[in-house]
């Protein structure tokens, strides 16, 4: 059986599925661990805003149109403008600017460079043909740090050498030459660390399946997944659902790209910037902007407002954000049968198989939709209770409050006395713990409430027991066919 795991790894390698070093977990998101670490080092080091983080992630993966090398062209010219304005003697001086976390915002770069670098009302200018805003310059410096420090500094000396050449001759020709070098550099980085080919194949298949439609239903997702299973790809249902999340977010971009290989005006670039930002808009939206998955992963230490098991369950139910609000059926399918499939995949990865795979494939152990709905309701109720406790801990002075509010707070006090969780004994420490978790708790309680409502809405339209029974036979048949080889082994 051990040979099977190796075969799977070999197939995945040929398809460009990266594995997380250490844990060996598959990374089907289109990037490897190195890339995530390189990007985090820049974003955290500069404390970038959500908008700038998503911009930088977009530039690194190449999600820039019409020309994905445009940010590198901009960067080369920005560095040339800085080299001139600051009279940088060598590449080292430019490196110092690029690595300075104090130059991460428009205000900071304006304060530092507005008197020295040639600029118009918006921001720096280089020659006749190139200009950007001060905010743009701040972003480009973050990109400069990324290209310098990528691959954990493996190319640092090389890129510093290129900056030396630019500092020696900071003219239009030098900038254009550097732009070409940087474009090649980032393209090589993408080849090494962003296994996009399997993702691209999957999206091509989705586009083919939808045949020009931009809207899709829960059953479209299921039908598409079954087709992929039959074709032998065997993607996770949850993975496929995640691809549909992206498709939905970016659907407005589809079809506008043909014929863009020709040179286009700067206006066209500006239009695309806005549209691409919109595709990632839900990630860059107003505070509290953290994704629910990140919120749960970074849950503050302290009183056990949520146990590890509760966090895991919530992560599982909310992982397809925003589908937990908009597509409750897909959310249930992923939490129930997607979970079964992950179990089978994990079992195969560890080199198991045989009877256990066959047994799991029957979905006898799948959690029913009714049970999941009940659990989601219980978690939402728990979070709501925790919110009321947070309020009770905060509001000590209650004399002026209306009787209704006072009653709610007193009920919360009673809940608090009944709580048997670690960290709930000492009231002062508990109040501090709740204060630290308040923003996250508020957001999570709100989303759990939305999930509860969307599940209730689904249950009114489509009895959950019948839907579960029908789905179970579909998923069991798909698993039985797809994993027949391993189940028989």
């Amino acid at each position: 059986m051990a040979g099977l795991g190796i075969t799977i790894q070999r197939i995945e390698k040929s398809q460009g599925v990266a594995r997380r070093p250490g844990t060996g977990r598959r990374m089907t998101g289109g990037y490897d661990e190195r890339c995530a670490a390189d990007l985090t080092a820049v974003c955290d080091g500069r404390d970038l805003s959500r908008e700038d983080r998503t911009w930088l992630a977009r530039v690194v993966t190449g999600a820039v149109r019409p020309n994905r090398d445009k940010p590198l062209w901009d960067l080369a010219h920005a560095l040339a403008a800085l080299a001139r304005g600051t009279e940088a003697a060598s590449g080292r001086d430019l490196v110092t600017l690029a690595l300075d976390p104090g130059l991460a915002t428009a205000a900071a770069v304006t304060a530092r460079f507005s008197g020295t670098v040639v600029a118009d009302a918006r921001g720096p200018v280089f020659g006749e043909a190139w200009r950007t805003s001060w905010a743009g310059l701040a972003r480009l410096l973050a990109l400069a740090e990324f290209v310098l420090t990528a691959e954990d500094l493996a190319q640092f000396a090389t890129v510093t050498g290129w900056l030396d050449e630019l500092a020696a001759a900071p003219d239009a020709e030098g900038a254009a030459f550097l732009a070409k070098r940087l474009a090649r550099h980032l393209s090589a980085y993408r080849n090494a660390h962003l296994p996009l080919a399997p993702l691209e194949r999957r999206f091509r298949a989705i586009l083919g399946f939808l045949a020009g439609r931009k809207a899709f239903t829960d059953d479209d997702i299921l039908t598409f997944w079954r087709g992929e299973m039959e074709a032998g790809e065997r993607p996770g249902f949850r993975t496929v659902a995640e691809h549909f999340v992206t498709f939905e977010a970016a659907a407005h971009l589809i079809g506008g790209l043909e014929g863009l290989s020709a040179p286009v005006s700067l206006d066209a670039h500006a239009g695309w910037e806005e549209r691409l930002d919109a595709a990632l808009g839900d990630l860059a939206a107003a505070e509290p902007a953290e994704t629910l998955a990140a919120l749960l992963a970074d849950w503050p230490e302290g009183p056990k407002i949520l146990t590890g098991a509760e966090r895991e369950e919530l992560t599982d139910l909310l992982r397809l954000e925003p589908f937990h609000r908009t597509r409750p059926l897909t959310t249930l399918r992923a939490a129930s049968f997607g979970q079964v499939q992950s179990g089978i995949a994990n079992r195969l990865r560890r080199g198991g198989g045989g009877g256990e795979v066959a047994e799991r494939a029957t979905c006898a152990e799948a959690r029913s939709y009714a049970a999941l709905q009940e659990r989601a309701g219980a978690l939402a109720a728990h979070l709501a209770r925790m919110l009321r406790i947070a309020a009770a801990l905060r509001i000590a002075e209650r004399d002026g409050l209306d009787p209704e509010t006072r009653a709610v707070l007193e009920a919360a006090e009673a809940d608090l006395r009944r709580m048997r969780r670690s960290g709930f004994e000492d009231r002062a420490a508990l109040a501090r713990g709740f204060a630290a978790a308040e923003t996250a708790l508020l957001r999570l309680a709100e989303e759990a409430g939305r999930l509860e409502r969307s599940l209730a809405g689904l249950a009114r339209q489509r009895p959950l027991d019948a839907a579960f029974a029908a789905d179970r036979s579909l998923f069991a048949a798909a698993f039985a066919a797809a994993y027949a080889g391993e189940a028989a082994a």
Partner: protein, 167 residues
């Protein structure tokens, strides 16, 4: 359609990357770069110094930054040697220790660009000193036993395992 699929793949990866939360390497690139550019004897960030001593990964990243801006550097003495070294090459430069009281460090090199500082690494220990102005293409530095860092530099340079950065 192919171009659409490519863009969707890139957006999907960007979304996934934005959600990924690995912990960032410490110390930051900026802190290491500041340390690499410090004046000899200037105040240092103790957190960085501690990390360089205790974390081999941080030390490796620091030396990468240092090597990139060095006029010349050599990770180890070019040729293995049994005893203490009195002469070694670092890029186009030649370093020689002239035994005497005090010992003298002599640095000769091409006319073009002479280094201003030297930083030596042996194990997790580092020493940085100003080299002074060259005279006729040669820099002379007294390794005065009364100056702890100069004395230590002389001892370290004699060890073949000592890495040298000319900055």
């Amino acid at each position: 359609m192919s171009e659409d699929a490519r863009l969707l793949a890139e957006i999907h990866a960007a979304r996934a990357l934005t959600r990924a939360r690995p912990s960032a390497a410490r110390p930051s690139h900026a802190a290491l770069w500041t340390h690499a550019n410090r004046e000899p004897g200037a105040p240092v960030d103790l957190a960085v110094v501690r990390a360089l001593r205790s974390d081999p990964e941080a030390a490796r990243r620091y030396r990468t930054l240092l090597g990139a801006q060095a006029v010349a550097h050599a990770p180890l003495a070019a040729a293995a040697s049994d005893g203490a070294l009195t002469r070694r090459r670092v890029g186009p430069f030649e370093l020689e220790i002239l035994v005497g009281t005090p010992p003298l460090l002599i640095l000769r090199g091409p006319d073009a660009r002479m280094p201003r500082r030297i930083e030596a690494w042996l194990g997790d220990e580092a020493v940085r000193l100003d080299l002074g102005e060259p005279v006729d293409g040669t820099i002379l530095l007294a390794l005065d036993p009364a100056v702890a860092e100069a004395d230590r530099l002389g001892q370290m340079l004699r060890d073949p395992a000592c890495a040298v950065f000319l900055l």
